[in-house]
Structures are given as C-alpha cells and as structure tokens.
C-alpha cells in the first residue's frame, strides 16, 4: 500500500511541475522569464493577469468558450444517453456498423477538413456563432460519449431493467429514476471529457469564428507577434484556462467516485 501511494505522489509531482512553471511564468515579466532561471518570481507582478482581466477582447474569449462548451456538453450527453442504452441493451439492424461508424468521425486529420467545415456552416448562416462551434464539436464528442456510456451501461446487469419493467415502470421513468443514478460514474466522466475536448479544441473553433464567438484558444495566438512572444501573458491565459475545468472535475468527482451503487435499488 505504501509503495503505491509513493508512486502516485511521484507521478503527481511530475504532473504538477510544468503547471507550477506556467504559474511561475505568469507572475514574471518577460525580461525575467527569458533572462535567467529563477524558481520563483523575483519581481512579482500581476500585470499579465491584469492585461487579460481588463481587456474585453481577452476575457470575452473565456465567455465565448464557456458558452459553446456548455451547450456542447449538455447536448452531447443528452443525445448520447438513449443511444448508448440502445447499443448496450438491444440488437438492431446495422447496430455494430453504426457503433463503429460513430467513432470514425474522430479519425479525420483536420488540416484539409477545415475548409469544407467553414463552407458548410457559412452556407447555413451559422458562421461566427456559438451554436456552430458547439455543433461542430459534437462530431467528435457525441461518439466519445456514446462509447464511454455504453461501456458503463453494459456493466449494469440486465435483470435490473427487467425487474423495473415488471414492477410497472415505464421506460422514461425507469431510465431517469433508476438507470441514470446507476451509471452516474460514467456520466460524470463523460461530461468531463466532453467539456475537456471541446475546451481545448483549437482548429475547428478558430475556423468557424471571427469576432462574435471567438474562443480563448484562438485569442491566445495573439501573444505571438512580430515583436516577439509575450510569454507572461500566454502563461497567465493558460493558468486561467485550467480554472473552469478544474471546477468541473471538482463537482463531478463525487459521481466518478461513487460508482456502482447496487444497494440502493
């Protein structure tokens, strides 16, 4: 037992050090970052954060990203839940092909696909809207959600469904009242992954927006300019991008850890 916690702590240190370095950089001036190695800021400055939090073009990016990420996460999980149930409980025409086809939508290298995506969303007048990015991100999040949820649902014994139907539960009532609580670990982890993948996706989000819905990941690229790299502001922006997701994982952690609560049925 001791050895395992030791290994875990060692890994967590490995995981946290680059993040510490990012926080460290975000509290330094560019001269100090590129000047010499220092383990903590010698001239502590909050200017990098001030730049982001006082400029609407910067903090607006966080709001835009949050809007489409939340739309995407809610829609993805909502449509994936019944579908994953169908895949885990029934056989139907083309089920295996359909299941694998879903995942193939994550397999196209983005470079060349970006142009047709731009044309598609422009042609239906959704260019530069939050909903366009949310819909485009469903392309890779919905298959992910279906696959993860199906795995968790298949772990739930079928007898539970049958018993509930015998007890007179209708399908929607059974699904919401009994089944969803049983797979809360799966839903928690799925919601977090949908949030995360949509949050960090850069290429599609940048292609489908220009001003109104421009995401934070695209705004960050402005730290690279002819005058050189604005390391400090980029690091501060990076620190701030962790915050919403860390809150999400903190809130879903109980669902993830709760797991399979057979005793409550």
């Amino acid at each position: 037992m001791k050895k395992r916690s030791f290994g875990l702590i060692l890994y967590l240190i490995f995981a946290i050090l680059p993040i510490y370095w990012m926080v460290n950089m975000s509290l330094k001036t560019n001269e100090e970052i590129t000047g010499a190695l220092s383990l903590w800021p010698q001239h502590l400055t909050f200017d990098n954060f001030r730049t982001i939090l006082t400029d609407p073009a910067w903090y607006g990016g966080y709001i835009n990203s949050l809007i489409y990420v939340l739309i995407n996460t809610v829609l993805s999980v909502a449509v994936a839940l019944p579908a994953a149930y169908a895949f885990s409980r029934y056989e139907f025409l083309g089920d295996k092909h359909l299941f694998f086809w879903l995942l193939t939508n994550r397999m196209s290298p983005p470079a060349v696909f970006l142009l047709p995506f731009f044309q598609l969303y422009s042609s239906i007048n959704l260019f530069d809207t939050h909903i366009a990015v949310a819909l485009a991100h469903m392309l890779f999040n919905v298959p992910l959600a279906v696959w993860i949820l199906e795995g968790f649902m298949s772990g739930v014994p079928r007898e539970i469904d049958e018993t509930a139907y015998i007890d007179g539960y209708s399908f929607p009532r059974f699904f919401v009242r009994i089944f969803i609580p049983l797979i809360s670990a799966g839903i928690g982890v799925t919601a977090f992954f949908c949030f995360m993948f949509s949050w960090v996706e850069l290429l599609l989000a940048r292609t489908l927006t220009s001003v109104e819905a421009k995401p934070i990941v695209a705004i960050m690229t402005r730290t690279v300019s002819a005058a050189g790299m604005d390391w400090g502001v980029l690091a501060a922006a990076g620190v701030l991008t962790i915050v919403p997701g860390a809150l999400v994982i903190y809130f879903v952690r109980n669902y993830i850890a709760k797991g399979f609560a057979m005793g409550r049925v």
Partner: protein, 291 residues
C-alpha cells in the same frame, strides 16, 4: 442475451442526425478535392487516382509515417499501463481522492498550443526547470539541437498531457465494479494479482478499449504540440504525419494531393482502430462467459 428490436433505432436516431449533419458534407467535399486538379475557383479537371498515386510514392511521407507509427506505439506502450497503475493507486474516497483527481486532470485542461509553449520554456537548459535540472544532473540535454532529445521531449510531454485521460477512465471503471465481486474474491482468498487479472481487468475492458482508441487516434494526429515545441525539427526528427500534411495543404496550397493524403491518412487510422477493436472485443473470455 440482447433482445432484437428495431425500435432501438428511435433511441439512436438523434445521435445519427447530429453526427451525420456535420460529418457527411465535409467528407464528400474532401473526396471531391482528391480526384480533381483545382486550378481556380471555376477551373477544375478530373484527374482520377492521380493524386493518390503521387502521394503513395512520396518518400518524405513514408518517413513521416514511420516516425508517426513509432511515436504512437511508444505513447500507447507507456500511457495505457501507467494510466491503469495510477487508477489503482488513487484513493477511492475522501479529500485525498478529490485532491489527486483535480491535480491529475489539470494537464488535460490546458490547450495544446499552451502546452507546447510552456514545455518550450520548461525544457530549456538556461531558463527552464526540466532542462536545467537535466543538465545539472550531467545529461547533455538540448531539445532544440539533438534529434533524440527532441523526440523524447515530445513523448514525455504527451505522456504528461494525456496519461490522466487513461487514469480517469480506468478510475471511473474501477469504481463501477460492484463490491460483491471483491467480497467473493476475499472469500476465495484470491491474491491482489488474481483480483486484478480476473476481476478488475475484464471489467475495465470497455473503458480501456475506448481509452486505447482515443489515445491512438489523437496521438496519430498530433499536430499542435510538436509544432509549437520544436517546429518539427531539428531536421525532420519530430515532423509527424499531421504536420507534413499541413505543410502540403497550407504551405504549398496543393488541395488535391493534400485531400488524397488526408483520405489515405484517415484509412490508416480506420484500419488500425478496426484491428484494435476486433482484437479487444474478442479478448477477455471471462467477460464473455457472463453474458
């Protein structure tokens, strides 16, 4: 036994509509590009499989593909076992569990371009913690000059960034195993290893399959991180397939060959995923016997 019922299509339909609406038009457009020579907005010539032949013969592509396969194999060989070990080591409940989960998930939440930039500084010998530490320990480490160092840096960065994905999936999978299984194992006096081999691993098969496929697909299409960190260099040491494709598509603006390249790329990923999927579906006889 699963029941055969085509009404299940009604449950699946929303997903199919959502995904197909965004998937089909772009795919067909790319197929369209790949068989045409696009000279201008209104000037297109049908060239058949010409671009495919051209791309298949490209020696630089073969090199990039080789590097890519090696990289993805290394990523999977490290991240999957490490992720499982982390999930087993994570405390199940309490504040330690919450703290470890949040810390573990943090790297996942940093956008790829920031990841690359942070590691760019972090790995530098003069002003970065990791680079300075390695040099201090006597290693001659310099990721901008040495190909091997650059390749390893990209690999370690990927391990840092994405192992938590496997760990979180496996952790959630472990929590979903009913307590009764462990009780039965205790009564039988099963060893820790036996519990892992015959209870935990089979039950984790579903989440590990999706984890493996995700890591394979995403590492095979890795673009932003090596691009920001090393720009593909030194030389071509870290020019992976996606970056070579982007050079073709954006740099030289050869839409036809780039589209053909994309489709071949897509088919390689599809084929490999199908092989993984089939292999893992049929592995694990313990799970099969239960249905």
């Amino acid at each position: 036994m699963k029941t055969y019922n085509n009404k299940a299509w009604l449950l699946v339909l929303p997903v199919v509509l959502c995904v197909a609406s965004s998937a089909i038009v772009p795919l067909m457009t790319v197929v369209n590009y790949s068989v045409q020579d696009i000279l201008g907005p209104d000037q297109k010539v049908f060239v058949g499989t010409e671009w495919f032949k051209l791309v298949m013969r490209d020696p630089e592509l073969h090199e990039a593909l080789g590097r890519q396969i090696l990289f993805s194999a290394a990523v999977l060989a490290i991240e999957i076992p490490l992720g499982i070990l982390l999930a087993l080591a994570l405390p199940a409940q309490g504040w330690r569990s919450s703290l470890a989960l949040v810390l573990l998930a943090m790297p996942l939440l940093i956008p790829q371009n920031v990841v690359g930039t942070i590691w760019q500084i972090y790995g530098r010998g003069d002003i970065g913690l990791a680079g300075a530490a390695l040099n201090g320990l006597g290693f001659d480490y310099n990721y901008t000059g040495d190909s091997m160092d650059a390749w390893l840096t990209v690999l370690v960065m990927d391990v840092w960034h994405w192992t938590p994905l496997i760990a979180l999936l496996a952790f959630a999978g472990l929590r979903a195993i009913p307590e009764a299984y462990y009780q039965a194992a205790r009564i039988d006096g099963a060893s820790r290893l036996a519990v892992f081999r015959f209870i935990q691993l089979p039950k984790l098969r579903g989440v590990l399959l999706i984890g493996l496929l995700l890591r394979f697909m995403d590492s095979f299409m890795i673009y932003t991180e090596p691009f920001v960190l090393t720009g593909g260099g030194p030389g071509n040491a870290t020019t992976f397939l996606s970056q070579y494709l982007t050079q073709k598509a954006v740099g030289q603006f050869d839409l036809g060959p780039a589209a053909a390249f994309s489709l071949i790329y897509f088919l390689i990923i599809l084929l490999a995923c199908f092989v993984f999927y089939s292999l893992l579906q049929n592995a694990g006889p313990t799970e099969k016997a239960e249905h």
